[in-house]
């Protein structure tokens, strides 16, 4: 939990607002189930309260919308407001759309040789290579791969094709947009296409501002990377997981931090 939100805050929070604290990064679609083609709106923000935009707008540089047929859809009316970003998605074909903000990069910390000052930077392998001086001491570079996503379906749901990279939630047969109160849903978490075993998943209902306790549910994935949730109430839910390993693809990095967050809607 700490890890994921930290990472996401690193990757997505406005630098002006700061990144000292951990926050949840989330997408909030206006609708997740449509009977016919339409346009939906999505809010994207980073905040503690789900889903209250009271901290920082999410950067949409890495927004990727995938149609049911695998083609890429361009967002419309994109705007970054003070506390949230917004965009429209024209959902025109039958099936399930994947709306994702994928952050890949790294962060580095080192001690400046001359001043002994602790320095930090984040960015791509290339930009980090440029920023870290050659004589820097105690250099640690950590790769971060984060995915924040949600799903929207027109008509009958389809199964979005797994990405096969980083940490992601994949269907075990059921749809991401066919969830109902009192029903059990089973999903799997994969890392680089392989089941993520024994990984803690946090499921939190939205509207946290209207209750005294956060009431998050923590579940561990099984040997197949699967976890099940029986939805206690209808509403928007935030599913979050994070882990780290050493399978870095960045030359300087020794550690890779993986995070995943999805927003799903549960119907009454």
């Amino acid at each position: 939990m700490t890890l994921s939100i930290r990472t996401l805050a690193f990757a997505t929070a406005l630098t002006a607002v700061g990144m000292a604290h951990a926050h949840n990064a989330w997408l909030l679609p206006s609708t997740t189930v449509l009977s016919k083609p339409d346009t939906i709106s999505v809010d994207a923000a980073v905040s503690n309260d789900l889903f209250v935009a009271n901290h920082a707008a999410m950067r949409l540089d890495n927004l990727l919308i995938t149609a049911p047929d695998g083609s890429t859809v361009k967002p419309e009316s994109e705007a970054k407001l003070k506390h949230r970003s917004v965009f429209d998605v024209d959902v025109s074909t039958v099936g399930t759309y994947r709306i994702a903000v994928v952050n890949a990069g790294g962060f580095a910390s080192w001690k400046d040789k001359a001043t002994g000052q602790q320095k930090r930077a984040r960015g791509t392998p290339e930009s980090l290579a440029k920023e870290i001086p050659a004589d820097a001491q105690e250099v640690t570079v950590t790769q971060s791969v984060g995915r924040i996503e949600t799903f929207v379906t027109v008509g009958k749901p389809s199964a979005p094709k797994p990405i096969g990279q980083g940490l992601e939630m994949v269907s075990t047969g059921g749809a991401f947009t066919d969830l109902a109160k009192g029903e059990k849903a089973t999903f799997a978490l994969h890392i680089d296409g392989q089941p993520a075993k024994d990984l803690e998943v946090t499921v939190t209902a939205g509207n946290t501002q209207y209750r005294d306790q956060l009431a998050e549910t923590k579940i561990k994935t099984d040997d197949k990377g699967q976890f099940s949730v029986t939805w206690p109430t209808a509403g928007m839910y935030w599913i979050d997981a994070s882990t780290k390993d050493n399978k870095t693809t960045m030359p300087q990095a020794k550690e890779r931090r993986l995070s995943y967050a999805a927003t799903v809607e549960v119907m009454p």
Binding site: G18, A20, N48, D212, Q213, L214
Partner: protein
């Protein structure tokens, strides 16, 4: 020793002009130690409420007193409204910081809260509640109240305990 003390107290009282018989009100608030992955010290407000829920006095407000200049998260006052009951009852009408009332957030442990004698002296006889509210970033919120009668007829201690965000709340009454 015994003799010295009994002499010293009235002497001190005389020196500061505090009548030795003044009715007093003291309290302590326990901030529980929580085993959570991400911990932030809670915002806490403590106040005295009349039977009609109006506020007689705010005893303490602990919040992130840093300002935008030295706090990457911005003004800590932004989240005062998350002490929701206190905010409705009186918080929104107050201007923080308040000398002797507001202070920085406190770590886990038991912290004393003193009510100035002047505030206690202003309480009209009647039924009151000492209310403590805590709200924690990425955590929960809890309100605990301790009822009491003013003025007290004998020295007594009232207690109540929170279950999530607050530990034991103790109220000391001195006639």
């Amino acid at each position: 020793m015994q003799v010295r003390y009994s002499l010293a107290i009235p002497a001190l009282a005389a020196l500061f002009g505090v009548p030795a018989v003044a009715a007093g009100l003291g309290a302590s608030i326990e901030v529980p130690r929580l085993n959570v992955s991400e911990y932030h010290r809670p915002y806490v407000a403590a106040w005295i409420e009349r039977a009609d829920n109006s506020v007689a006095a705010t005893a303490a407000v602990w919040y992130d007193v840093r300002t935008r200049t030295n706090n990457p998260e911005g003004e800590g006052t932004k989240w005062l409204k998350d002490l929701r009951q206190w905010w409705r009852r009186t918080g929104r009408e107050l201007q923080v910081p308040i000398d002797g009332v507001t202070s920085a957030t406190k770590p886990a442990g038991t912290h004393a809260v003193s009510l100035p004698d002047a505030a206690a002296a202003k309480l009209a006889p009647g039924a009151y509640k000492f209310v403590v509210e805590a709200a924690r970033e990425v955590g929960g919120r809890e309100v605990v109240s301790v009822p009491f009668q003013w003025p007290p007829t004998k020295a007594e201690q009232q207690r109540a305990s929170g279950s999530t965000e607050l530990g034991e709340i103790r109220l000391e009454l001195k006639p």
